[in-house]
Amino acid sequence: MKRVAAVAVNTFRETIRDRILGVIILFALAMIVASLWLASISLGQEDRMIKDFGLVAISLFGLIVAVFVAASLVRKEVEKRTVFIIFSKPVSRAEFIWGKFLGLAATMFTVLAGMTVFLFVLAWIVARSPSGSLLVAGLLIYLELLVVMAMTMLFSTMTSAILASVWGICVYAAGQLSHNVLSLSKLGHSGIAHAMSLAVFYLVPNLSAVDIRAAVVGEGAVSWTSLAAWSVYLLAYLVVALVVATLIFRRKEF
């Protein structure tokens, strides 16, 4: 556990100081402010616009950070051979993967929390009342991105950083369309198509089960139980992904 913590702290320090992160965050904040402008031309719907577009901006930039940092995390260590330094010490492959993931999760939390609070304050000013659901939405975006990061790290143990990031983005997109896959599986005539769709439905993380963004702008309510169930599902999913990543990483030679 101590070694996992050591790797995690190390990863957090290294990623949070990377200047690229700062640039991406600046862009995200700029986009959020831009949504203010969009809101101003929305003829009285500023409240709804700023929340909706603000959350979209946070999701998008969060995704970019998640995918590109997660993909390079393991890859960079292998390519730059810092793994030699690490694995010549009594650290297991599992401790390494988990430590890296936890460090990245901490970085991601910092980034998302910053952006969400910024949006929260902005929306408060515009709507003249605080919207707690924005903070919940931010937390859920964080959980979604944790899953995407775990999958991206898994891909990065198998392939190059660029390919891993592309697949990570695909997982996110597919996850958003998860409920479509389910309805697709019911349409198929052949048993094979049905089985394949079902397989995809279970393999791809379901990132659309709870529509928090729709709830934030007033299109339907979300119950706490469904939120809790979805959170547990996401956490379980990422544990499985990381275990698979560890197994693959164990077989690797440097």
Binding site: I41, S42, L43, G44, F53, L177, H179, A214, E219
Partner: protein, 249 residues
């Protein structure tokens, strides 16, 4: 030799900058926007998740406003606006403001029949929203022609009064219409309520109409406006006073 090279570079860069600016400044003068634009049918998006549909509704909402702005002052035709309103509300059923905006917009281009139809569709989709019969009554009274309009309007207001959330003045208006029928005072009362209930856009319309209906003389106007005091909230009343007496001091 070096000087010549420098001059050439400067001239080249200046030329390029000129082309960039010149091309862009030419743009607005180009095509006049087509009043008929492609609006995808809501069915196209039915498989997307609600979160995505809600964001799409917002995007199309902005698109609708842009369309409105573009055409109102040019060819004064909003042929595709009803379709846009229908798309926005199909994507985001709780976005009822789109209906009200659409209705007023169609009035702006002289199509009260379309406005009325839009509101009726909106009411069908939101049968518990008192604002729909409220606006239907208002539109019937203000823009319809014929003997029956007062009665039709009164009926709408009565319907509105029965729905949950309807403020007390609505039933008063229904009564007023049923008994007194057409009068300038009724019109003033109705527009005042529109100001009290509507968003910024509806309020703009209300101020314009009230400005026409109320006496121009300052003292008479003050008297007429004072009579409206109880029918809207104090904050709204102060705002209304400010709007109606702009340029009077």
């Amino acid at each position: 030799m070096r000087l010549l090279r420098r001059v050439v570079v400067v001239v080249l860069v200046a030329l390029c900058v000129g082309v960039v600016i010149g091309y862009q400044s030419d743009r607005p003068a180009a095509a006049t926007p087509d009043p008929v634009v492609f609006v995808p049918s809501p069915g196209f998006y039915k498989n997307f998740s609600p979160a995505v549909r809600a964001t799409l509704a917002d995007v199309y909402w902005l698109y609708t406003i842009q369309y409105y702005g573009e055409h109102l002052n040019s060819d004064h035709r909003l042929d595709s606006l009803p379709a846009m309103v229908r798309l926005v509300t199909a994507l985001s059923p709780h976005f009822t403001e789109a209906y009200f905006f659409g209705a007023f917009a169609m009035i702006d281009v002289g199509r009260p029949d379309v406005a009325y139809a839009l509101l009726q569709e909106g009411f069908k989709a939101n049968p518990d929203d008192w604002r729909f019969p409220f606006y239907l009554g208002f539109f019937a009274y203000t823009y319809a022609k014929g003997q029956q309009k007062d009665q039709v309007a009164a009926q709408w207001y009565a319907d509105a009064a029965r729905l949950p959330g309807a403020p007390p003045f609505v039933s008063r208006l229904a009564a007023e219409l049923a008994t007194k029928g057409s009068s300038k005072q009724t019109a003033i009362d109705l527009w005042t309520q529109v100001f009290g209930q509507g968003d910024k856009y509806a309020q703009q319309k209300a101020v314009t109409a009230l400005d026409q209906l109320l006496p121009k003389d300052k003292v008479a106007r003050e008297k007429a406006v004072a009579a409206l005091k109880g029918s809207v909230s104090p904050a709204m009343f102060d705002q209304l006073v400010a709007e109606l007496f702009q340029g009077y001091r």
